[in-house]
């Protein structure tokens, strides 16, 4: 068994595969312009498919959060809204609106008073790093100090890459000597402090967002309808002890489809061109839901995923190598079929782990190794072994039996020599 599993040539090929991957990674050539498909795939994860195609939305009850569409925000109406929500016993009111400037003394004063009176309003702000060193943030912007003093604040920034797909969020950041909390974290702190405590205990700089719902899965209101046509009692039955998020979440088909809309893993067009799929306030809602229910995404440690990739690659090399020697003529077809089956199986396992256990297994390296295995074996067998005689001298198998006998013989020889020496003396 051991003889079959440990084969020197397969070990060399595995090393060559990972050397090749390392070299590609080391060179960091951006050749995506040659291949538009890869350009689309640059920002893609298998879990995106799980979210967009394999999850059924809504996958759970989201009635703890109510969304209110502010439309184009009007400070008079927002003050009225805060008063009304507060009177109806809303748990926390999150205003995902940046009040950057003061506009009108009376109106601003009313809004500030409403926020102060409610006592459970979280306002949006932004983090700014003036020196561009990205070690820490030095400024909170997007909110005027006049409003900042009226309620608690939370930053609405999300880490996003070139394609602006939002997958993770940062629970808290250092701003000079102070700690600033994200909008969602600040809301949970107010609404359910023990859930926020759990989040801090995890002590992770960023958390993957567990996206379970889009706009249509939430209870949602138009701001005007809520203010003008709902009695306080009616409203109480809907908002009492709930998280109310106010932001731009338009229903009207004529609304601007790009205002505060972002790409998330829920986008069905996970590669190539598409329209952003989720409003910012809905992303906050997903984060809040995740933290409130402690449904965090678990990640397999990188070292373990890499170790799995190496073992997976080596086993594949062994099998493909065996096919190469035993079914030489059909080698190409069998290997490609095997790769496709393995790829689907791998995809299934990774998706299943994520779907049922929210366990994220980063297996990119293993998949890349699987794709390269066939070609590297071909190169090794038809080029390297033929051109470099040293590799030809390496045996196909290590004979462990022989090694054991030889080892035994050596020990016996030493013992014999020792005995001989003793006798001579």
């Amino acid at each position: 068994m051991l003889k079959r599993l440990i084969q020197p040539h397969s070990i060399i090929i595995t090393v060559l595969i990972f050397l090749f991957i390392w070299l590609l990674n080391f060179l960091q050539l951006n050749m995506h312009y040659l291949d538009p498909f890869n350009n689309g795939l640059k920002d893609y994860e298998i879990t995106d498919i799980v979210y967009s195609y394999l999850f059924e939305h809504p996958s759970e009850d989201m009635s703890q959060i109510v969304l209110v569409n502010s439309g184009q925000p009007d400070r008079v109406r927002i003050a009225q809204l805060v008063d009304k929500l507060s009177a109806a016993g809303a748990g926390v009111i999150g205003l995902d609106i940046l009040f950057e400037k003061r506009l009108n003394t009376t109106i601003d004063s009313n809004l500030q008073q409403s926020i102060k009176n409610a006592g459970n309003v979280i306002l949006a702000c932004e983090l700014q790093d003036s020196d561009g060193m990205y070690d820490k943030f030095d400024k909170i912007v997007g909110i005027h100090p006049y409003f900042e003093e009226a309620g608690d604040i939370g930053f609405v920034n999300f880490p996003a890459n070139g394609t602006k797909t939002i997958r993770i969020f940062s629970p808290q950041e250092k701003v000079n000597q102070d700690t600033a909390f994200s909008f969602a974290t600040a809301i949970v702190q107010k609404f359910k402090p023990e859930a926020a405590h759990k989040l801090f205990e995890r002590n992770r700089p960023v958390e993957y967002i567990h996206f379970v719902a889009n706009k249509s899965d939430f209870v949602r209101y138009e701001q005007d309808r809520l203010i003008d046509s709902m009695s306080t009692e009616e409203l109480r039955s809907v908002v009492e002890n709930k998280v109310i998020l106010v932001g731009y979440v338009a229903e009207d088909i004529w609304a601007n489809p790009l205002t505060d809309r972002h790409y998330t893993p829920l986008n069905k067009n996970y590669v190539g061109k598409s329209i952003p799929d989720m409003y910012g306030v809905v992303i906050h809602a997903n984060v809040i839901n995740m933290v409130l229910k402690s449904q965090y995404i678990k990640t397999v440690p990188k070292w373990f995923a890499n170790l799995l990739s190496v073992i997976f690659c080596y086993l594949n090399v062994l099998i493909i190598h065996w096919i190469y020697f035993n079914f030489h003529e059909a080698f190409h077809g069998i290997t490609r079929a095997l790769q496709i089956i393995e790829f689907i199986l791998l995809f299934f396992i990774i998706a299943l782990l994520f779907y049922h256990f929210r366990l994220k297994l980063e297996f990119r390296l293993g998949i890349l190794a699987l794709l390269l295995a066939y070609d590297i074996i071909m190169i090794y067998e038809s080029l390297i072994k033929r051109r470099i005689p040293l590799f030809n001298r390496i045996p196909n198998h290590i004979n462990f039996k022989l090694l054991t006998i030889k080892k035994r013989q050596t020990i016996d020889d030493i013992e014999k020599t020792n005995e001989q020496n003793t006798t001579d003396q």
């Binding site: 195609y53 394999l54 249509s216 899965d217 209870v219 949602r220 046509s229 039955s237 908002v239 998706a351």
Partner: protein, 323 residues
């Protein structure tokens, strides 16, 4: 070991029994209107339906035309649209019977669909007919079936004349048109009539309308195929004194006084339209044309006014009559 397994099995059955006993309820996620959607249950008064409300699976939901709501039941979403009445028990049964797909079936569907014939341009060319309806570059125009009955705008805003002859575009209908006037504030129907033709003469004085209130009128009809056709809602206030005051105010304006006689008419008409006294402007245009049938300018201005009032057919008739 067997005893343990038996215990787990029994607990599971017990748990499932509890779940079954707690029958799920409907959750209203969104409604497109704050009125016109009600929930009725035997022996109880009607309840207004709004987002966030939880409804039992007995009773019925009644939707007026153009009103809709998104509901969630047993983890499944459904949009209900009016005009219609939905029996909640029936709805619950049909939603319960809808099978939820499994993870495995969704996975297979995804893998299977990944290799579709339209994956590259040449394949798309080959199968273009199959994929031609996937994308549409354009928007719905004014011929939207949402408002199959068109109404002129000059029966809206400020109305001063009590004797009105409402009219709307004629369409093929099964039995006739239902004409309704409702109070915007109380949502009470003030006047309702069924008429065979596309006109209705009405004396607003008889309706005892409050000048400080806003009323809405609309027309509904059932098309021969059974679909409901509606007109847009038109808002108006019956304010004879206010319009009279407005005319008086315009006429005492210094600018008005300085104008030539023919200019005065134009000035008055312009201001009436600006202030929303469309019907008075409409009658004034008609009076002007009757007084001087050969004045081409008046005819063109009236046609232009009618076009602005969404009465294109009448505008065309006016231009043709002037030729």
């Amino acid at each position: 070991m067997r005893k343990k397994l038996w215990l787990i099995f029994s607990l599971n059955i017990f748990y499932l029994g509890i779940c079954e006993a707690q029958s799920p309820q409907f959750k209203v996620l969104y409604t497109n209107s704050s009125s016109g959607i009600v929930f009725e249950q035997q022996g109880q008064s009607q309840k207004r339906v709004f987002p966030g409300l939880t409804l039992p699976s007995t009773g019925s939901m009644v939707f007026e035309a153009g009103k809709w709501a998104d509901l969630m039941y047993n983890g499944k979403k459904k949009r209900l649209q009016g005009p219609a009445s939905y029996d909640m028990a029936q709805l619950a049964n049909s939603m319960k019977s809808e099978k939820k797909s499994t993870f495995l079936s969704r996975f297979w569907k995804f893998v299977n669909n990944s290799v579709s014939p339209s994956d590259n341009t040449s394949q798309l060319e080959k199968y273009h007919k199959e994929y031609l309806t996937n994308a549409r570059a354009g928007i719905s125009g004014f011929g939207d079936a949402k408002y199959a009955i068109k109404i002129p705008l000059y029966f809206s805003e400020l109305i001063a004349d009590a004797h009105l002859k409402f009219y709307w575009d004629s369409i093929p209908v099964r039995n006739g048109y239902i004409f309704e006037i409702t109070s915007r504030e109380t949502e009470q129907v003030i006047f309702k009539a069924i008429t065979k033709s596309n006109t209705l003469s009405l004396n607003l004085d008889e309706l005892n309308l409050d000048p400080s209130e806003v009323y809405e009128w609309m027309v509904k009809a059932v098309k021969p195929a059974g679909e409901l056709a509606v007109s847009p809602i038109s808002y108006f206030s019956f304010v004879p004194n206010e319009v009279a005051d407005l005319i008086q105010e315009i006429k005492t304006d210094d600018d008005y006084q300085d104008l030539e006689d023919y200019e005065k008419d134009m000035f008055l008409l312009y201001n009436l339209e600006e202030e929303g006294a469309y019907h008075t402007a409409y009658l004034t245009y008609q009076k002007l044309i009757n007084e001087n049938p050969d004045n081409k300018l008046n005819q063109q201005l009236f046609a232009s006014f009618l076009a602005r009032m969404n009465a294109l057919d009448e505008a065309i008739r006016t231009i043709k009559a002037g030729k």
